[in-house]
Subunit: 319 residues, 6 copies
């Protein structure tokens, strides 16, 4: 397995390791011969690669979700690194590599994530909210523990959704301590369920794309519908169901961001803010990690295209 | 019953007739005595009235949805007509008046509206779309035939929703003739179902307000959920269900107008436009009806606050 | 003449046929030698082509609006097809090809379009509106029957403007049937004249660009002025002239879309909507024609950059 | 005639003088008796007045544009001064008062304004621009010298339009000195003609309202049309006509402010800015005149609702 | 002193107690006699009152910031309560009432607030940030402990600013625990200083208005300047000063909300969010306190004009 | 030195002259060899150049701010000119060329600019405004006379800032003559100081970039702070200081353009407009200089992306 990771290679470096093919697109070069543009990834990042003069067999062998051993050199094309492939072969069983080793994962284990979610459900006192939430976690447990929280921007890695949920639960616990007026049960249920619609909106874990239902309906209305269905199945009626649907429906905060109703409950407003805080901290921490003190990060699209500064002095006094 | 209608009274006229109480609010006058502010209506319009020195009994007798016989005079207060009540008594069984005589109604009978909707369903060839649509019409028939299409702005009268649906079906039939690429079944199903969520969003027919679910969830996600539920009950699966949910979800056209997804089907785009055209024509025709050739209408909030002109010449040549 | 059309060629195909040169731009290659970038078109579409090592004579021969016989191969450059020219020669009289065979045309003949427009004018009862409209059609007949309705987006083909007008007249006829309050004469006159300013705003039929007057004044104010002039020439005075000018002036619907006044007549509002519907259906139908059921169209700039879905099921039940 | 002016009266003051009736509206008081709400004005400002228990004769006598002698007291109603009429009589010939004494006028005489405009035309070297401009001034001279520049906000007084034109000509002269690249003729012609469409958009001088053509077409397209007509009458062709039409068309600067084309000539951009500067200085000077140093003006709608501050120190050093 | 508070009075109640005059405005009644409109307040809220037939002496006695004993009756005027004064007298020394008893205060004592702020400063490790922060707290201690955080919307009560700061410090402590990458010193310093400019922007504690400098410069640039000045006085240079100025400058989040630079530091982004959360929770809690379960709050201007719902079920399970 | 200037070279021309290196970036070619992308400039403009197969020594020799003699050929790459370097050597002392010969400069000498600024300060009567202004000019004189007014768009050349100030002073003098109500001292002081913060916001004269303080604080708040500091140093207090800070703070006109307060003084409004006019005229004149009569300029980003037209007729009549 890759000891070093593609992210740490410099222009001019030789490369010789396994990588996961994220996508493969065929093209025809100016000499009339076909070539493949491969997006390759390992746990540290992605790189574009060109396989020139690709044969029909190459096209069928090197496809998305497959692993390959690649020998080549890191060049630069229009200011971005590009891997020039000199030789490539498909991975074999005897190589002892598997796709899940080549994708980024949450820094917390699935077991710990599950434990914290279970604990939060256990703390809930309102039986209606608790039963609905528990049912969803039970039915979707496997996907819930492996899906990313999004296709890009924040928590876009394996177990990203559960990682996001657990961070939000921790924030909510502190908010409840500081603002005791908050209904903890509603907030916990809202946090656990708010993005579960993504399990149907996205196609999978390793290289997620949008499903047809995801494109035409979207995860928010899909989840509102499913909360209604689950409540009926469990024979639960009453305001809690509507409130929970409202929590999910309004968590994007504004109509133009995909919530047909803005938050109209104290807890819905806080759910929206907690979601925002955790997504932003996840993006900021990961972007600032990549730069040195005294530098600015690259522009971050989901942070209004801002470039953040990492001060020089922070190292000196804080641990 | 009122021969003439409140809309036709002039400032200074004596008034002596039955009216429906739309709302009743208590106040205390500058002399310290309680009074009632009544909003009264008949088929031609509304007027505010003051019942000075109201007794406890008055407060309990003259409440919303009740009928009363009123004698008084039409005055003016801040530029708007106001009815000064000189005597008032509750209507009695022997008066032979009923609330439904005092509200505005669609210019087409419930029977004719039902017939046209049934006919459209009958024309549908796709069994999935047809069965779902028929099921909704069956379950909601009574409300569907009496509810207004909205609380204000357009088709805001008894049977307004069905009137709006039928006008839209007629438009759709013509569109299909001119643009044969349109899928008529999808368009018909979308038209009949697009606003049915309002039957749960609004509280009733005579003086509709928003229900709790209407305020927190809204008719669009409510209807998307219910299409899912009905499809499951009927054992229908497949793209038609998602397409129909998308038609309803997207019919407001834009996220900021309440549709989390914009129209992404040819028929969804047309549904949005047909809805717009019929709502606008309904508003325009009713506003222009109230003015003389050569005059401008009052400003219309739902038409971007525009004031429309009624030309002088149209009478001469067109019928 | 081209049997198959450029749109139907695949990457790697050999090409050998006549094409119309839409534009020709000179460049200098990295080896210091001049080359020509040609945009070529036939009735089915366009393709970019490179003529390497172009001579002075090539530059003078292969210019916009000329026809040429080309032999070459369809390659791909940055994800888009590109024609690599191996040999090229100008078309000669004996080749029997003419430019008009290489441009897209409306699916209805000029005769049929003219007939329908004439019929509409004949139906008009208001003599003032009728005379002004007839005068414009008489003066501009030739251009009116050949111009496109726009440089891009919708009806951007030969006779596109007349095709658009006729579709709109058909819609208007149906609208009048459903909403008899509409003044048909005003609507018909508005439809026929609304975009005639484009005959002066655009430079021609085959490869239209904007004229100086088009850039600095625009087709809407130009047409408002010309209606005034024509009315004076015909000795017509009165409200009809102002109403007709208003119809044209307001047909883009909003100031930010180029109409200094929004529609303030019932018919002006409908003209704006009818224009919108027909432009959208024209764009949607042509984009959906290019994809298979189950696919999404390419993003459409003039439809808010949306990508539309073509359902799988529509084939089964509707014809 | 009024020695002091209504603007200088305090709450509680007795009032006894002639005033011009700007508008008169009938109402019915809570005692059932009719009254008149009069808006009265003199050269210093306006006040609302109530004539209680108005007779039929009063209604016919005290109408807009008439003069009346009024005796009463200045009260306050909802924070604004109101004149309580104790007696009122129509002005008679022998009173020696005339309407033009009761309206605000430009601080420069009509003769001086005309002289400066004539001088500017005389300075023009381009015969085409000069002839068109001279023709407009000749035809509209009387209205041009008396109309206000707007119904409200800036230069909204008698001769306001000519006053605005002359200030702008003075600014343009200085701009030409500082930026010699400017074409003075085009700028002068644009300044003189830019708002002449208002002579048809507005109904008159004393109490201007919008004409039907003003409401449905607007002064900008009306003037573009008329420049075309005048040029044709004078037999002038060529770029100057289009440029001049563009100057007028674009002088509001943006589509959402009523210019379908933004300025695309250096002189058009400057015309827009000169118009802006002079309108703003006119509003600012008049608003700051009404307050003392150390105070803020009232909020000014046409200045983005800002309230401007008048510094204390300016008196000390500048003259 | 007031046992019950004006907020708890019903329409029709007799009122007999001391109140603080917040503002007093003179008017003239329709009978020509002067009256005073007083805004009165106690710790529970405000009410408008009318003192009819006010004498010159009344005008001089009953002015803003004074206390008065009032006997009267609670009436209603245009849907809002109004106090009809039957007798009034100024408070005297012997009455034993003082203005500070009649204004709303933070629910935490000044001592506790000061202790928590001191503790936070003590926890800071970066000497530059600590010294600057300590200096500000030392210089402004008195005002800091008494000023409101704003004129309206949130924490608009005595000690509101310190209350807001302390809540934010508590939130920041929890954020640091969950996101250890945050620089606690920078966050603490930013929180304590972010709104101190309001001590100069606002005129005082009891009835704050904006100072001239507040209106023309605003608290953000004023504070940026003062941080620079204090740093120079303390002889502190380096990145910390700029970072702290940036924290203050950017804490409104966007240019259109008054921050010429958006947050470009991780801690600046969090400061903005923490400020938002605490302001929103303060507004929400206070608005929801005033309504019963099952009701909606009044519309809240600073929460995008939303009306929040208080669920029925929360009472049952959570404490 | 370059006789002709890079701007006047055509595609295909041979080039042999000195140029200033504005920036140098390393890349790796598809053959794996390093190359340098150089941006080169002289007084007439810029060009991109490629130095293929660059050695380590080349990388160290050809860096920003150095001069080099280059022999090569002007080619075209993606529609833009590109210089293909055939030989290159660093300039030597004996070549007699210096960087300042290769940058664009204001068309007025530093001495004349300084004289006009000094004259304006001399004309000021208010001693407080005069002393503050004089102090700034004294301290920053050197930078003030050499810095550009901006990194791009307008006056982006050596002495651009002073050139802009002097043009604005000339405009202000004329404005004062036409609108005597303006306080000339405040306007002059505001003009001279409004952009001085750029001396700290930008890194230097020849190839300016933004400083850290410039990025995080910006020139407007930096200058507001410094005016406060200078006033304190000079012992000046009073409204003038606040007014001057307001002039600088508000000169961008709107919050979204970087002014946390909009202009609230007559002179602040005029400062904003004068700044706008001079920036626009500078951009327009330079863009129109590059095109022939009858042509449009390239699109100008800072002019709302407009392309301006240069009329044909202006040459004939005006000098």
């Amino acid at each position: 397995m890759n000891q070093k990771g593609i992210r740490h290679h410099q222009i001019g470096d030789t490369f010789d390791d396994f990588m996961l093919i994220k996508s493969a697109t065929k093209g025809v070069a100016s000499n009339g011969k076909p070539f493949l543009t491969l997006i390759l990834r390992d746990q540290t990042g992605e790189i574009e690669a060109k396989l020139w003069e690709a044969t029909k067999e190459d096209e069928q062998t090197f496809v998305a979700e497959e692993l390959a051993r690649i020998f080549g050199e890191v060049n630069q094309f229009r200011g971005k690194p590009q891997l020039k492939i000199q030789s490539i072969r498909p991975a074999q069983t005897t190589d002892g590599v598997k796709p899940s080793d080549f994708v980024e994962k949450a820094p917390v284990s699935e077991e710990d994530l599950m434990e914290r979610i279970t604990e939060a459900i256990f703390e809930m006192k309102n039986p209606n909210l608790q039963r609905i939430t528990r049912q969803f976690v039970k039915v979707y447990q496997e996907a819930l523990l492996t899906y990313p929280a999004a296709v890009k921007n924040h928590h876009e890695y394996v177990s990203g959704l559960a990682h996001h949920i657990v961070s939000m639960l921790n924030l909510a616990k502190q908010f409840k301590a500081l603002y005791p007026e908050l209904d903890q049960d509603l907030l916990y249920a809202g946090i656990i369920l708010h993005d579960l619609g993504k399990l149907k909106e996205l196609s999978g874990v390793t290289a997620p794309s949008y499903t047809l239902e995801g494109k035409l309906i979207g995860h928010i209305p899909m989840m509102v519908e499913e909360i209604g269905t689950v409540a009926k199945e469990l024979g639960i009626e009453g305001e809690e169901v509507t409130m929970l649907q409202h929590m999910v429906l309004s968590h994007h905060g504004k109509a133009e961001w995909g919530s047909p109703k803005p938050p109209l409950l104290r807890e819905a407003e806080m759910l929206h803010l907690i979601d925002l805080i955790d997504a932003k901290m996840n993006m900021l921490n990961r972007a600032l990690d990549k730069v040195q003190p005294g530098e600015f990060t690259e522009r971050m699209f989901a942070m209004d295209n801002r470039s953040f500064y990492k001060p020089l002095f922070t190292d000196h006094y804080t641990d």
